[in-house]
């Protein structure tokens, strides 16, 4: 066993705090995948995961919000049953939902960048103006859709139009609902920002 012989190098308090929040948010993202409504005619189930992606960007910023979704993906890849319907493994990352999963990571980073406009100085989401909130959430959703549908069409070898019909259209009402919900949560201002 490679025993460490150097003196202990402690992780500073701010980093531990943000890291713990990122890890717990990643676990919450996993729990959200069990709150789902399977749709009979669509391949990707409707879960609350996108809601957690938005919250990661809003409350942890681009750096730690992205890290949080990254932890979620890594835990799923090595076997935690955190992906939709309790799936796990590297296979899911490259399977037909792989584009959405990558979109979640980049979506959280995008929301964080647009709302906080800084890598480490975070502002209170409750004080962010409504147009900025709506704009950043919609931009993240468009990014998630774009990556998701292109990857879906490539892996399943179907036409882009068919992929849009199966993998985007059924989710639009649910996703608009999740944007409204996120704004309601942010504006209520009951969650302590870091």
């Amino acid at each position: 066993m490679a025993t460490e012989r150097n003196s202990v190098e402690l992780v500073d308090a701010d980093t531990v705090g943000l890291f713990a929040r990122a890890a717990l948010l990643a676990a919450l993202m996993g729990a959200a995948s069990y709150v789902s409504i399977p749709l009979p005619f669509s391949p990707v189930p409707v879960t609350l995961q996108v809601l957690v992606v938005y919250l990661a960007g809003l409350y942890l910023g681009p750096l730690w919000g992205g890290a949080s979704i990254g932890l979620f993906l890594a835990a799923g890849a090595v076997g935690a049953p955190v992906f939709a319907e309790g799936k796990a493994g590297v296979g899911v990352l490259v399977g037909y939902t792989g584009g959405y999963l990558l979109g979640y990571l980049l979506g959280a980073v995008l929301v964080g960048l647009l709302v906080h406009r800084s890598l480490d100085r975070l502002r209170d989401p409750a004080e962010t103006s409504l147009p900025v909130l709506v704009g950043s959430l919609v931009a993240a959703l468009v990014l998630i859709y774009a990556l998701g549908v292109v990857w879906f069409a490539h892996v399943q070898q179907v036409e882009l139009a068919a992929a849009i019909g199966v993998a985007i259209v059924p989710f639009i009402p649910g996703d608009i609902l999740k944007i409204v919900t996120t704004i309601a949560i942010a504006k209520r201002g009951v969650i302590d920002p870091v």
């Binding site: 992780v11 308090a13 531990v16 717990l24 676990a27 729990a31 969650i191």
Partner: protein, 234 residues
């Protein structure tokens, strides 16, 4: 649900790094080509993986039952045409083969999931990803495993409490935002306690890791992983 189960199979004795390498090699090989001959060869590899981890095919398929529905839909959607002859079976062949290869990738993942404990996965991550990023990634993955059941119980408690107060008869936005606010504030409260506990226990950048070692058994497995990864070039 398919999770880690202690056992003495060949797959259990392998180093987690070689098992991760095989999965990645397999994914590269499966996504590069779609010919029936390549898929036949990959099916054989997937069957060996399931056998090595002692996962029965029926059990793996049951675990992925929702995915099977999805995989069946893609060929059907492609076969349907607008206008005569309405159904074009030839158009469904390529999507059907594509669906089959995704199923094979999922089966190989099932073998890894059953044969690898969390501790080993964490050590594999920390030894592969260098520096502070690897430390946080390894610890963070272990924390996600630890807190997933806790937060699932939190979410269940919140939903039951809301239902007991007839909150489930409210509109969807109000229901989802209540669940979101309560779920997130509970998770962050747990995170703040966890961060205090980590600092009290000297959470550091350089702890001693659990031992991992490649054995002779890993050599053919690593060779297979490399072979699969370069197979699209042949």
């Amino acid at each position: 649900m398919l999770t880690y189960e202690p056992d003495e199979t060949v797959a259990h004795r392998l180093d987690p790094r070689s098992k991760l390498a095989v999965q990645m090699g397999f994914a590269v090989a499966a996504l590069a080509r779609i010919s029936p001959r390549a898929l036949l060869a990959l099916s054989a590899v997937a069957a060996v993986a399931l056998l090595a981890a002692r996962v029965s095919l029926a059990r793996a398929l049951y675990a992925y039952r929702f995915a099977l529905v999805v995989l069946a839909i893609a060929p059907v959607v492609s076969a349907v045409t607008l206008g005569s002859p309405w159904i074009d079976p030839a158009a469904a062949v390529t999507p059907a083969l594509a669906s089959y290869r995704v199923l094979l990738i999922l089966l190989v993942s099932a073998a890894y999931v059953r044969s690898t404990p969390v501790r080993d996965s964490r050590a594999a991550i920390q030894r592969t990803v260098p520096g502070k990023a690897g430390q946080l990634l390894g610890t963070g993955v272990a924390l996600v495993f630890r807190f997933l059941p806790v937060l699932l119980a939190d979410v269940r408690t919140i939903r039951e409490a809301v239902a007991a107060r007839l909150g489930d008869e409210r509109g969807p936005v109000e229901r989802a935002s209540r669940l979101g606010v309560l779920g997130l504030s509970r998770a962050f409260a747990r995170a703040d306690r966890l961060s205090l506990a980590l600092q009290a226990r000297c959470f550091s950048w350089n702890p001693t890791l659990p031992a991992l070692a490649f054995s002779r058994l890993d050599a053919p497995v690593l060779a297979l992983a490399a072979g699969l990864a370069v197979s699209p070039l042949l």
